[in-house]
Amino acid sequence: MNMNDTPALSADAGLTIAGKTYRSRLLVGSGKYKDLDETRLATEASGADIITVAIRRVNIGQDPNAPSLLDVVPPSRYTILPNTAGCYNAADAVYTLQLARELLGGHKLVKLEVLGDEKTLFPNMPETLKAAETLVKDGFDVMVYCSDDPIQARMLEDLGVVAVMPLASLIGSGMGILNPWNLSLIIEQSRIPVLVDAGVGTASDAAIAMELGCDGVLMNTAIAGARDPIRMARAMKLAVEAGREAFLAGRIARRFAASPSSPMAGRVG
């Protein structure tokens, strides 16, 4: 964050995951953009350091020289976070991330998501826990898309994952933070980073997540699906920064009573 105009304020320390510190607390997906150029521009505008990607079979016979995602989101500039989107059981998720690790030259930081059904894209937590255990034992640093259930989040933390990422509402729904109380319970108990993953619709949702004390926010559709994705990427960057600053500053208590901002003494009336 640019603090040049307020030199007395220290900059946010950044987001530390698995021992590495990232400047931005906004993580973005790379799906649903209209082309790779828009992907590149929106990713740059977001200021994100960590970018999620999906792992898919190569289309045999397609032009092998067509530009690829990693050309516009190069691993030399960004931390690439391979995901297991589309996996519905632990075995497929583990296999996908083993391929990702090879693809990215031994890279260990991954996003685990094991889905329950196509209608809700809700996490299948028994399979998620099973996959997390296998991956942690295999040396991966695992960030986990999970339900906003504090008990399951604690189970994941006890397995040794490096971040828990509860959904705020359904993936791609844009419904925002539907259960801030559960998120607060998870934030309060966790000794590892807590990131909201899924459900953010607009900038205020991201700010609310950060004001609650989340360590970061991961989003894709809210940016890629906006009328102007590049401008929305910038809006999300600012919202995450603003929400973090408000959290650090400490908001006033809510009270149902007015309190004048100007002194009563010395009025001319």
Partner: protein, 66 residues
């Protein structure tokens, strides 16, 4: 002989190794990973790793995703 490549039947010559398979697919030097029968094979081990009939090969890459 026939193998299964990314879920579809695919004909290769007997004695094809993984380096030759990737070359035939024009993917040499591209950011791809490969597994045979769901075992990831690191690219350093592609040379001399021969394919057998009915092997199931997955060749994957990174694409946009959230």
């Amino acid at each position: 002989m026939q193998i299964e490549l990314n879920g579809k039947p695919h004909a290769i010559a007997d004695g094809t190794d993984l380096v030759q398979l990737i070359a035939a697919l024009e993917l040499t030097g591209k950011a791809v990973a490969l597994a045979v029968n769901r075992e990831v094979v690191p690219c350093q081990l592609w040379a001399g790793r021969l394919l057998a009939a009915h092997d199931k090969v997955d060749v994957v890459k990174a694409i946009g995703g959230g």
